[in-house]
């Protein structure tokens, strides 16, 4: 028993904190980076830009959800709130006061972090299903309230007036989608970089510890509540950034869509499909589900909207039943097996 523990400790210490990634993964990373940078000039149709802009934004949103669920183990079903805060902050400031969305972006981040504290402090200590249901109900309540709040346009929402004077200042690009593409790419890369660092930080390890063994983590002196609230704040801020960019991209603020529980559910489906708790799972999930819904809308016309949801639902059900760790784990298993065979 004791020698077992000693051996495990030895093993844990021998593992480098910053492992050098294997050559193939660096190569793959460089190839993906080069592809993403060159993409808008290789594929030039507006639709191909639109598709990847959506994938990037949803990848960021799913990653935001993953910070709470994958790292700290709490299932939030109300993440649309933070998406909405980001979208509303920048839009309301611009429409009412003419303030640039860049400031709105920062205001959105601050407001959603504050909202995350307000929601998280009382609810994050609820276990399992109680937290999930609480966030689901808070999410629908926020939608109901915003839909009746005249100052922010109530149920009909707000339109962002077109301004052609200074595209970069007002974040509106009317001649090409390429600037939006790079903005979305930048935001998503920044978000993934943040999570990459987070996962390797002391804070990230503590989060994973309290996700896996809450009692053990607490007995080692990790302040569970504070860690979970902080993770919730980081996640909310990321979601808010995606909300601001999305609002600037579509230039319409529609509470029916922006705050619907559908957004909260889709980020969950993407993350679980790809692999929750992993760094690349959310991106993989977004890269599978967004083309699915965009192409089904093209192929099946008006009713496509429900066909994609039928496929989403069945796909996620199948993943949960047979591969609860997500699609990404299939690749990892394959690599591990090949490695095992080689040695």
């Amino acid at each position: 028993m004791a020698s077992d523990q000693a051996r495990m400790l030895e093993f844990a210490k021998s593992e480098p904190a910053w492992p050098r990634p294997p050559l193939w993964s660096m190569g793959l990373g460089l190839a993906v980076a080069a592809f993403l940078l060159a993409y808008p000039f290789v594929f030039t149709s507006p639709f191909s830009h639109h598709l990847v802009i959506l994938i990037l934004l949803y990848a960021l949103m799913a990653q935001s959800w993953n910070v709470v669920a994958g790292l700290s183990g709490q299932i939030s079903l109300g993440h649309a709130i933070f998406f909405g805060i980001g979208a509303y902050s920048s839009t309301v400031l611009f429409v009412k006061y003419g303030i640039t969305p860049w400031i709105g972006l920062v205001v959105g981040i601050v407001l959603s972090a504050l909202a995350a504290v307000a929601i998280g402090v009382p609810t994050l200590r609820l276990r399992g299903h109680y937290f999930a249901i609480a966030t689901l109900l808070i999410g629908s309540s926020v939608q109901i309230i915003v839909q009746r709040w005249d100052w922010v346009g109530a149920a009909s929402g707000l339109y962002i007036p077109i301004d052609r004077t200074s595209p970069w200042l007002y974040l509106q690009f009317h001649t090409s989608k390429i600037p939006y593409y790079y903005l979305a790419l930048g935001a998503t890369v920044a978000g993934y970089g943040l999570v990459w660092l987070l996962r390797r930080s002391r804070f990230g390890f503590r989060l994973q510890a309290l996700r896996d063994e809450p009692d053990a983590a607490a007995s080692l002196g990790i302040a569970i509540a504070r860690h979970k609230v902080l993770a919730f704040m980081i996640s909310a801020a990321m979601m808010s950034v995606a909300g601001t960019f999305y609002a600037q991209y579509v230039l319409v603020l529609d509470p029916e869509r922006l705050l619907s529980s559908e957004i909260s559910i889709i980020v969950l489906l993407m993350t679980v499909l790809g692999g929750s708790g992993t760094l690349w799972g959310p991106a993989l999930g977004a890269a599978i589900l967004i083309p699915l819904s965009e192409y089904s809308r093209i192929w099946f016309g008006g009713t496509g909207r429900t066909i994609d949801l039928i496929i989403y639902g069945v796909l996620i059900l199948a993943v949960c039943m047979w591969r609860p760790s997500g699609i990404l784990s299939l690749f990892e298993e394959g690599i591990r097996r090949r490695k095992g065979g080689a040695t």
């Binding site: 669920a69 299932i75 009382p122 609810t123 609820l126 276990r127 399992g128 299903h129 109680y130 999930a132 249901i133 609480a134 689901l136 109900l137 808070i138 629908s140 309540s141 109901i144 309230i145 009746r148 529980s261 559910i265 969950l268 489906l269 679980v272 929750s276 009713t303 429900t306 066909i307 994609d308 949801l309 039928i310 989403y312 639902g313 069945v314 796909l315 996620i316 059900l317 993943v319 949960c320 039943m321 047979w322 609860p324």
Partner: protein, 288 residues
């Protein structure tokens, strides 16, 4: 605010509450048996309403006639869902369980919208229509009959669970699965039975609801949210708790809508949930 108006709100809240309670008790029963929250519960309510609708519009059956049929269909669906899906999720992490039933909900709702379009439908001219006057109160007859049948179903369920051997087996399984298995109770079959009963209750509630409520693919969403609240208030797994909580929610919703603002009536109920789970994380009555 006149006293009559308040009495009127109390009566309609009470009748609606009985339907909420019957929807909630199925959720509660399933959770009590296997610690799984059925996030597709509202979608099964929607399916029950559509089943009643199609039996009426294509088969000419009044909802009162099709009631046992729809309940049996939903009960069969419950057993199938357990055997085909839930059984495989039991040992999965909680995230997979939540996503699994959520995936089912998304697929069912989208499937209904694909097959039957998002239109609102109603059953016109059911056998029971109109309203009765009791003193100064007007009570819709469909609501009155629906409330009465839901209450009857509740009594039958309660008698079954507390007075029959199978019912006791169900309770034993919910209390301690392993110990129940050791005593020779077929726990696996009890789980399937729990799903059948749980969705059978939804079948009864949905059929009765279809006599006076709009029928459309998203109809279940709000009922499911209210059922979550009811189950949390009554305590996951408690049958009588669901009844009390369902009725309480009906009352809070209708009085809150009257006294504060009708458009915020559900928000008031959700706030009640938050207040209760934060103060008493095991619900008002604990488990059975």
């Amino acid at each position: 605010m006149s006293r009559d108006l308040i009495m009127q709100a109390v009566v309609s809240g009470l009748l609606m509450g009985l339907i909420y309670a019957l929807v909630a008790v199925g959720l509660s029963l399933i959770f009590g048996l296997m610690e799984i929250v059925n996030f597709a519960h509202g979608e099964f309510l929607m399916l029950a309403m559509f089943a009643a609708f199609w039996l009426w519009s294509l088969g000419g059956l009044d909802p009162l006639v099709s009631l046992p049929l729809v309940a049996a269909m939903l009960a069969a669906a419950g057993a199938l869902v357990h055997l085909g899906i839930i059984r495989h999720l039991l040992n999965a992490p909680m995230l997979a369980q939540v996503c699994g039933t959520f995936g089912l909900a998304v697929a069912l709702r989208a499937g209904a919208q694909f097959l039957w379009t998002p239109d609102f439908r109603t059953i016109t001219n059911p056998w029971i229509a109109g309203r009765v006057h009791v003193g100064p109160l007007f009570i819709g007859q469909p609501q009155l009959v629906a409330g009465a049948i839901c209450l009857l179903a509740f009594v039958a369920l309660w008698l079954f669970v507390t007075r029959t051997e199978t019912g006791l087996g169900l309770q034993a399984t919910a209390q301690d699965r392993q110990a129940a298995a050791v005593m020779g109770i077929p726990t696996e079959r009890m789980s399937a039975l729990g799903w059948a009963i749980g969705l059978g209750c939804v079948g009864v509630a949905g059929t009765m609801l279809s006599t006076f409520y709009y029928i459309f693919p998203d109809v279940g969403v709000n009922f499911a949210l209210l059922a979550f609240v009811a189950v949390a208030l009554g305590g996951f797994g408690s049958i009588l708790g669901s009844l009390v909580a369902g009725v309480l929610i009906g009352l809070v919703e209708s009085l809150g809508g009257l006294l504060i603002d009708p458009s915020y009536k559900t928000v008031i109920v959700f706030a009640l949930y938050l207040a209760v789970v934060i103060a008493r994380p095991n619900g008002l009555f604990g488990r059975f």
